[in-house]
């Protein structure tokens, strides 16, 4: 096929890819069609990338075949794609959120690199359009690169990026200064100047801004932040499309930028938080109320494995409340085993899934589904909350903030967050490793409730012992 016919064909295939992305995203709105939607989207992606490879082979941008360039593409795809495939396949489900954040970081990084590369190769002074697109691509791409890496590190609980909010001394001042550098630099370049040093200063300011923006935000808000950064990456990719004058980058980037923004809003709404509030670091300044809650607290009652087993085995209804502790301990199989034991004894077992239990919405569903917990037993918050008062035992496994009754009163850092009404159950057993606090960094009043028995254990080990104890009854 000659060069004249291949160009429009490739562009039509790009259009088909874009259509697949849109339809794929629509299908991912509903559980029944979601997997199919993702497959459709990946099909569109494969088609688009394949067509691009053919296009670049037949119509090389420099006019002739570039062997080194192709070696680099192959090496990059093998290394990057290989690591992507490996990590996405092998990492445990608990590590999914940080993995998504990592993939987002490198996407933003790639978009920024494209703009940097094009800027280095510019001949003469670029026009205003090129300058605007380049600066925006560099800024947004760099912020999302370092921001997502920090978010990923926070979710992994790395020591340099603890999940609690980290206050940067003079944070507001630093942020203001960085913004000033970026804006002043941008204005200078937009005025028709070409200056590598100024571009480098903008790049550095954006990279640091990504860090200072994410560090002060607490782990509980990370899902919303990752979603916001995901939307940023989409926008950066669209800007890369403007830099390279490529329609498919513009379309797909803008699509993700906009849908990611809506999704961020939905996620923040599910936690009853505003995006702005999160970015300002709402959970951070909660020290005062910690003391207030702690002072009102009573004593904690411990319960033994055998007592807990008896309570569970002779209950007529049990609601399991899983949280991040369950995910960390990989206790999803153990909990299913316990539930089966109890069901054999005629106990009615359900699972109460808080929309943001775990570290990401849907985290618990994914984990429990992996352990083959029957889907109908998983109940959403609005659905199950009225049932707690008729329930004999609520078994809380590694869940904290989402059960804290303090959320019902104003004045607490978790105020207004929808919670599971665990304290309405007749008895409460909490399996937890220690009295440590959740993300919000506050004490949980549920633990000092007289109805509550604390079972201090690792979720998996504790559940295994409970299974043994129930069997022995």
């Amino acid at each position: 096929m000659d060069a004249q016919t291949i160009d429009p064909i490739v562009r039509l295939i790009w259009l088909a890819g874009a259509v697949a992305f849109v339809l794929g995203l629509i299908r991912m709105n509903s559980p029944a069609t979601a997997r199919n939607g993702n497959l459709l989207s990946s099909g569109g992606m494969t088609l688009t990338l394949g067509a691009t490879a053919v296009w670049l082979l037949i119509l090389p941008p420099t006019g002739s075949f570039n062997p080194v360039g192709w070696v680099i593409i192959l090496a990059g795809v093998v290394i990057g794609g290989g690591y992507g495939l490996y990590s996405a396949r092998t990492l445990p489900m608990t590590a999914m959120p940080q993995l998504v954040s990592l993939f987002n970081a490198v996407g933003g990084g790639a978009a920024a690199l494209i703009a940097i590369n094009e800027y280095l190769r510019v001949i003469g002074v670029p026009g205003l359009q090129e300058n605007v697109a380049t600066v925006l691509d560099v800024v947004i791409g760099s912020v999302t690169f370092t921001g997502s890496l920090i978010a990923s590190g926070k979710l992994m609980g790395l020591r340099i990026t603890p999940s609690r909010p980290v206050m940067i001394p003079g944070g507001q001042l630093v942020t203001g200064l960085l913004a000033l550098i970026a804006v002043a630099g941008a204005i200078f370049l937009f005025a028709g100047n070409y200056n590598l040093a100024v571009m480098a200063a903008i790049l550095a300011a954006a990279l640091i801004f990504g860090v200072t923006m994410t560090l002060p935000i607490g782990g509980a808000d990370m899902p919303v932040v990752i979603s916001l950064l995901n939307s940023f990456t989409g926008t950066a990719v669209a800007m890369a499309g403007f830099v390279l004058n490529n329609p498919v980058l513009i379309i797909a980037g803008a699509l993700v930028g906009a849908s990611g923004a809506i999704l961020t809003k939905l996620m923040a709404d599910a936690m009853n938080r505003s995006v702005l509030n999160i970015l300002v670091g709402g959970f951070g300044g909660a020290e005062g109320s910690v003391a207030a809650v702690g002072a009102g607290g009573g004593t904690v009652r411990e319960v033994s494995i055998d007592d807990a087993a008896i309570q569970l085995a002779y209950a007529s209804s049990v609601i399991v409340v899983p949280g991040y502790g369950l995910a960390v301990a990989q206790a999803q199989h153990a909990v299913r085993e316990l539930a089966e034991q109890l069901e054999d004894r005629g106990v009615d077992v359900k699972y109460a899934i808080h929309p943001v239990a775990g570290r990401m919405p849907g985290h618990m569903n994914v984990l429990l589904a992996e352990a083959n917990v029957p889907y109908p037993q998983l109940r959403e918050m609005e659905d199950i909350n009225p049932e707690f008062e008729r329930t004999d035992v609520a078994l809380v496994i590694g869940a904290n903030d989402v059960t804290n009754p303090a959320a019902r009163r104003p004045g607490s850092p978790v105020s207004g967050m929808p919670i599971l009404d665990v304290d309405h159950a007749k008895n409460i057993i909490v399996i937890k490793r220690s009295m440590g606090r959740g993300y919000a960094g506050i004490d949980n009043e549920l633990y000092t409730n007289p109805k509550t028995g604390m079972l201090f254990a690792d979720a998996k080990a504790g559940l295994a012992e409970l299974v043994g104890a129930v069997k022995g009854l």
Partner: protein
């Protein structure tokens, strides 16, 4: 492509992005985010373009990192999304295990 045409496409795609997200159940928030995350792996197209038009060591280096980053995004993104969504299957494996247990 003229800038006005590019900008037209950009704005229409944004409107499209706003429209594709409707009332999503909370359980699908994470997979949906991950799905959107893989779509911006399209940046690999741009990385391939800069790799084939590179002609000096620095450009080759930047292009290589961009291609590797973009490939990590696109491959990892789709695989991890699929893995999450696989978990939502209504137990096709169930009859098998039940038979074994019975």
């Amino acid at each position: 492509m003229n800038i006005d045409l590019a900008f037209t496409i950009f704005v229409l795609a944004i409107l499209c992005g706003f429209a594709v997200i409707s009332k999503v159940p909370a359980t699908l928030h994470t997979p949906l985010m991950s799905g959107a995350n893989s779509i911006h792996g399209i940046v690999l197209v741009g990385a391939m373009i800069i790799a084939t038009s590179a002609d000096d060591p620095l450009s080759y280096f930047l292009a290589f990192v961009a291609v590797a980053f973009a490939s990590l995004n696109v491959v990892g993104g789709y695989v991890v999304t699929d893995r999450m969504l696989q978990m939502f299957r209504r137990k096709p494996a169930a009859p098998k295990t039940e038979k074994v247990e019975a």
